[in-house]
Assembly symmetry: C3
Homo-oligomer: 425 residues x 3
């Protein structure tokens, strides 16, 4: 089983890479994922039309800095890749402070942090820095360099399909386009990678599809190229913000009552995890694309603190200090449990539907009556027998009984063994 240390090491290894929605940063990231799980890496050429969008030109960057009037590097991409406005066009010029300032982004309310900014669809260049540093800049002429390229190339994404007994698929999606940000991006990437690794180890009833994609344009591209494949998707999760110490938050699918919606609720309840469940809203991460009216895939998003609600979000403080090894492993455990519920949510028919069967002679019931403390295991047997009427699956029965899914599943297995149940498709 995955250890906290493995997960944090995986994130630390990916942290320095400068990712964007295209380019070598994503490629390198996906190659490192490949060391653990056999994802296929796909390249989609710039200019490919994907629904209303086009795959943009590929962006790569080698270096970037600002030198002050005295020639000192005061902002250096090599030290923190957030310093560059992501997708900046190349520039190398000298300019006075006043003009430079029109290209600088800061966070006046968090004056020591460097913000994360992008300009994917409008050509621009810029730098991000701490507001306090901006305040201290002396007048004079500054030299700026951004050694980047924005050229025809491709958009890169990774995909892994784990086939199961049935064609029904669960889609697990994470974005891979953020540079040095740990909770937003790398935590989801880590949970997905280790989740796939664990799921690959054992037989599965359902099939699982993992996609590692740049945000927005990545999911749009994947949906455009794989529209036929979405027919089998019965539900899914968008994974992000899974390393901070906050409570779990589940944002429901647009449909709201899908198996994934219900499984997540059940798992968080069974785990005794305080949590929040929120309705679907058509903004956020890639669930907005999966739930667009032309697809309506039943994809929710299970995070710890949601995007935008923790102060470190999209700043240099979303670093290795923010993500906690035990949070990461706790998140992985919850994801595994959700998949466990979905996979174990079989439906049975009670083969002795008229009155209760005699559990005693099958070794499933206490032998001396009169003990008025009904044991939980016996009650679970009765729940499964009563509701295995062809209409209820184990998750339905779990919800009705207010017992844990595990207890109900174990009861079903015991009854199956003595021939009182039959699985139905």
């Amino acid at each position: 089983m995955t250890t906290p240390e493995e997960m944090i090491r995986f994130i630390a290894d990916l942290y320095p890479i400068c990712r964007s929605i295209t380019g070598d940063g994503v490629r390198e990231t996906l190659r490192r994922v490949q060391r653990r799980i056999p994802i296929e890496i796909h390249e989609v050429p710039s200019g490919t039309q994907v629904f209303d969008w086009n795959v943009p030109r590929e962006w790569n960057i080698r270096d970037a800095w600002i030198k002050n009037p005295r020639g000192e590097k005061i902002v250096d991409f090599q030290r923190l890749n957030l310093h560059v406005l992501n997708y900046s066009v190349p520039v190398h010029e000298k300019l006075p402070l006043a003009e430079l300032k029109t290209h600088l982004f800061t966070l006046p309310d968090q004056p020591d942090l460097v913000p994360y900014r992008t300009s994917y669809y409008k050509e621009a260049w810029g730098f991000c820095l701490a507001h306090n540093q901006l305040l201290g800049l002396e007048e004079g002429e500054y030299e700026v360099l951004i050694d980047s390229t924005l050229e025809d190339g491709s958009l890169t994404y990774g995909e892994l399909f784990l086939p199961g007994e049935t064609e029904e698929e669960i889609l697990i999606s994470c974005h891979v386009c953020h540079p040095s940000l740990c909770n937003d991006n790398l935590s989801g990437l880590a949970v997905c990678t280790f989740l796939a690794e664990e799921l690959a180890k054992a037989p599965r009833r359902l099939s699982y599809r993992f996609v590692f994609i740049p945000g927005t344009i990545g999911s749009i591209t994947w949906l455009a190229l794989n529209e036929e494949n979405t027919k089998n998707i019965v539900g899914g999760l968008v994974a992000a913000n899974l390393g901070d110490p906050g409570l779990f938050h589940y944002k429901k699918s647009r449909y709201g009552f899908g198996d994934v919606d219900r499984a997540v609720r059940q798992v968080l309840a069974d785990a005794g995890e305080e949590h929040r469940i929120e309705p679907f809203v058509p903004f956020g991460y890639d669930e907005r694309q999966y739930n667009s009216p032309g697809f309506q895939l039943r994809v929710g998003s299970l995070t710890r603190t949601p995007y935008g609600r923790y102060p470190e979000y999209h700043t240099s403080a979303d670093n290795l200090d923010l993500v906690k090894p035990e949070s990461l492993v706790g998140s992985l455990r919850i994801y595994l449990a959700v998949m466990g519920v979905l996979d174990g949510n079989r439906r049975y028919r009670n083969l002795n539907p008229k009155c209760e069967p005699q559990l005693g002679r099958r070794g499933l019931y206490r032998m001396i009556g009169g003990d008025d403390q009904g044991r939980q295991r016996e009650l679970a047997l009765l729940w499964v027998l009563n509701y295995s009427d062809g209409q209820h699956g184990l998750l339905d029965i779990t919800e009705r009984s207010e017992m844990s899914f595990d207890l109900i599943r174990e009861a079903a297995e015991a009854l199956l063994e003595v021939g009182l149940l039959k699985e139905i498709a």
Copy 2:
């Protein structure tokens, strides 16, 4: 736009008229309404059968009084028309106090107020007066005069139809049968008159039908004579008690989930008006007829303090002091907003339903990413796009998004303009 002064002047002008369910009082009232809006005035002969009822004989009154043993007029119809039991048959006789008392109505719990009483369907005569006055009456022989007529004639009502793009109609109904009572009767009459005046000024998607009718027998008569016309009615409101300073109260239609039911709730919420929403009950004003099982029109009733729940109700204290100009105009504004929501509740289809369209290149989205405060206008665009799936109208989307209807409507208009939506019938 209508001013508070116009509304209060309109009411003050109508206040002295002695109205009843038939007769010249209603006729004169409707003629004054005609000065502002082109209602048609209909006359339905006495005796006409209207479902289980017959149009009653027409009642008119010229004078009425009680003289005490000393020949002094102590109760005088000319000073307050509530003094006469409405629909009193003519009488002119002398009688001792004890016998007179069997014809007197007072309010022991509100001893200074004169009650409003009627006897439409049983021939009777009587007077209403303050309980304190009753207590002071000396023994002796009194003279009473009621110079009224109850003869074949007709029942009078007014109707105005404002056609729209579609045949679907909203029915707005108020009663016009109460004598000198301001909140119960005249406030509804005023709101309906000025509402029609405002709606007539601009093009309409829906059609609007206004009926100005005597309570109960008027709506029964109108329904009996216009049964075919009710096919197009998709919802409606009964207007009454709209001038007092109380909270808005909405009594839902029998169906309870009609567009009018939802629009009223939305408008009151958007306006930040504290309010109460109550279930349908089969008594009250004319909504009881519109919602009878043979019609089941989706007609609710939007009032301020409902009938019977303010102490001045059906007493001489329901006078010009009770209705407030700003309450009247506030009520008119809410009624206009409800019609605005109903009229604007169009349904669109997202023409780019697979994933989000690129709003940026259509000038609908911020150009530099990274601003983590999603602006409301942009979110409204996303709500409209996501739910314009052929199943949801703008009111549905408003409810789901928990935004205001105006924000959603503006988003829809912006999307329509750039060709991302198409209206569906």
Copy 3:
């Protein structure tokens, strides 16, 4: 009408009998029931297969005791039949205290009470006694006698069918298998007996079927032998624990929205009885068999304090002191009222569905208008008229109106009398 004294006398008479799931105790009990109501007594031979079960051998007992090393009877069946493990096989032997103890059952947490224990499906013998007595037992050799027989015979149950206008049946079930226990068993037996007696006195719209059966094996046997007869059962109640002074508790049928479920709720509300309504769970009394997936009869259970939730449950303290005459009669009254609602839950069609009929000329409405305190009786008339649209029965209308069932039923009867309603099937 039944008196509290009659009910308590009936219970006191049955209390000393040693009942079990088979045997002469049940037979004698049913014979005494027959003195009040004409139940048929059925005998089902041992070995008869009933679904997954077989009718067990018949158990009868004449005597049982334990003598201490000094030959003194320290535990005596003749004084309290709970002292014998119910269904004990015969035994007569001497054995040391240590070995005897493996056959003794006590309640360490209620050290003065004798528990009630059974061993129906595993051959065993044993005694139940107060824990404090156990603690005082001296070392030495004890003599035990259980003079019982376990032989082929039959299972006995009683049944009474009260036919009504329609074939639709209400099933009332109580268990008759407990020995000297008053609240659990005898209170239900008493309520069922007196309920049948009352119902038999007047004509009925519905039919009623009473079954007096041993718990679990009895209902399974009855269902197996009467499977065809269950087609007409539209709902039912399992009666138990109806003599203690606790609140009423209603456990809903598996379906949860049946007429019985709704009638019980209505009756308890109308009676102003504080009560609890609980969801169905597939354990408890015989409702577990009636609600098994192969039957899904809409049978709930209406008790006072439910089984297992009062400290005297299944102990010697569930005796004549626990059951209160006024509780018994109160329970009977509620059961009668539930049957009254079910029987009276007719459905009518308003023959004047378009607008209200004129109630005044039919003598159903106040003659002088203006009395602003709508009288409840008149409102009930309007509720019945408005909702007698072919879709709502009187119980539906009662629920919507939030009035009492009696008020609504009386209104329907008044309207029926003047020809405004017609009953529909």
